[in-house]
Symmetry: C2
Subunit: 338 residues, 2 copies
């Protein structure tokens, strides 16, 4: 018999604070006014794009800690990851906090993977007398990612309509094993799904089958439908991947169209910004969670959502060697109420 994939957390942890930091394009988008900090130069005062990404993550966690008046030493753990080779943005940007560190690689699914890992850590320690605290941070930088995975932006290569715009953005989340107004109540790790894609400029199509797999599994295990939730939020499928996800699920009799929202379609205005199929990158779902969904849950405009960041598991070498681009989509359930 197959195992249950959903984990019902013993001691559901709660959000203490969160922050989002972004660059120029993010400031121009519909959520621009809700970012905690924007740097219109995308440089964050640094000499390289790689360093800029690390600095953006550092600033973002710093803001989240300040909002809650917490010092780094009060945190028991920090989960982080990014798209740079060997995740050097996270280690280089966050080492100065001195928080016990767990590095993750989940591609653009890292925001949810980090929150899931942190939720499991805090729930495990949830029986201790004093609440314990931890953080999850995720970043991506357009210029660092594009030159690593595809071409340096200075080259000006033409992108196909299915391509997405890697967000220059960071999200930081501080959680407690104690009480709070937004809790992570369930987690559901993703499976690696092979959609047999090899085109590195069509990430949406590579990730949609993984999102469909997780949503289908979740609905069937619980015996619920999409209408049980205020929203079903995916990370960065973009226009191409979102329509593919809905199509794949409808083949199984699951209709999420009425309450599906993709972060990749929230961050930019596709009519006025040159982002093709939408936003992508680890920082996309992280910053949209911090600027749009968590504030909406705090205001009780939303009370119960499923949140799945979506990742494409590939490297420059694996694409050049003709390997398939796998997808993965971990899920967390966010609920209002202490």
């Amino acid at each position: 018999m197959e195992n249950q994939r959903i984990r019902y957390l013993q001691h559901p942890p709660a959000f203490v604070s969160f922050a989002a930091v972004g660059g120029f394009e993010e400031g121009q988008g519909p959520l621009g006014g809700r970012f905690d900090h924007l740097d219109n130069t995308d440089r964050f005062g640094q000499p390289s794009w790689e360093r800029a990404e690390g600095e953006m993550g550092r600033q973002c966690l710093n803001i989240a800690l300040k909002k809650a008046d917490l010092s780094p030493s009060s945190l028991s753990v920090l989960y982080a990851g990014d798209l740079q080779n060997q995740c050097v943005s996270s280690s280089g940007g966050l080492f100065s906090f001195g928080i016990p560190y767990m590095g993750l690689y989940g591609a653009c699914s890292t925001c949810t993977e980090g929150l899931m890992s942190l939720a499991l850590f805090l729930s495990e320690g949830g029986q201790s007398k004093e609440p314990i605290l931890g953080a999850a941070v995720t970043t991506s930088h357009n210029c660092a990612a594009e030159r690593q995975f595809r071409q340096p932006i200075e080259y000006g290569g033409q992108r196909p309509p299915s391509a997405q715009w890697t967000a220059t953005a960071a999200g930081a989340f501080v959680l407690t094993s104690g009480k709070g107004e937004v809790r992570i109540t369930e987690v559901c790790p993703g499976k690696i799904v092979d959609g047999e894609m090899t085109d590195a400029t069509n990430m949406g199509a590579a990730m949609a089958p993984a999102a469909a797999d997780t949503i289908r599994t979740y609905m069937r295990e619980k015996g619920v439908s999409a209408s049980s939730f205020d929203a079903i939020v995916t990370g960065d499928l973009g226009a191409v991947g979102s329509s593919l996800l809905c199509e794949l699920l409808s083949e199984d009799g699951i209709d999420i169209r009425a309450n599906h929202i993709d972060c990749g379609l929230c961050l930019y205005d596709r009519q006025t910004q040159d982002v093709h199929s939408g936003a992508s990158g680890c920082g996309c779902s992280a910053s949209v969670l911090a600027t749009k969904f968590l504030p909406a849950i705090l205001k009780r405009e939303l009370n119960d959502i499923l949140f799945l960041s979506t990742g494409a598991l590939m490297s420059t070498s694996s694409v050049q060697q003709g390997e398939h681009i796998f997808g993965i989509a971990p899920l967390i359930r966010l609920q209002s109420g202490a």
Copy 2:
């Protein structure tokens, strides 16, 4: 006040089975006879070194599952990571098992990071009626790593005496939230430590300060000395890093010389094999744990050990940009007895 860094697991999980797979050099070393499978071609039947690494990990987990007569679908989670950009060895090699997947990046510390993450996951779920199962897998491949981080081996570049030999090896571990003869009782995440190293051919020196930090913190928090344990095992400091670790700790009045063992000095015979300062790579500590330390605990030759894999957090870009190579050393405590 600073938080306690040691986590005392609520429901210490236990090992169910484990396996190690290696290549030619690993077969020539002192532990060669204890590997579950060796491929003297290092190719594992694959057309590229990158694919060979993935296949090695697949074979290794397959052997560990077979030893315990378990099907992949009985596992609730799989933690994995490697050294290839975007950890494509793990995702490409392990996707076919269909086990819910959590990708890690901890460089050569990934074996301990994976076991720690898995232990937290199983401990969190340890209150469920039926025991839950999970696995952790780590791989490294000499030829894939060398051409990615330094030079293709065909180039024949000369290596300095401080350089280490990236192991072509995999380790796979299956754990349960139920009973067993070897348990993980405590975990202690590592902090990112900046030893101000920039030399990518001296990883031992980059990682030793992180190992010293974790051991120092652990000893002080518990108020114990090195003699409280049967062994203090580090991952892949090699000869240079090991002597540096002992020196750093002796400055703090901590003497681990009598029971310190480095996996990087166990895997090969430095007198007869051309490995300079010793072994390295994610697969080093993973395969030495599976071939040397876990068997010794099962035989009760050892009953209580501290196990710290050591990682150097860097990428080709970060080294070329002159960034520091950070170290990290997560720790787990392994004890015999159900």
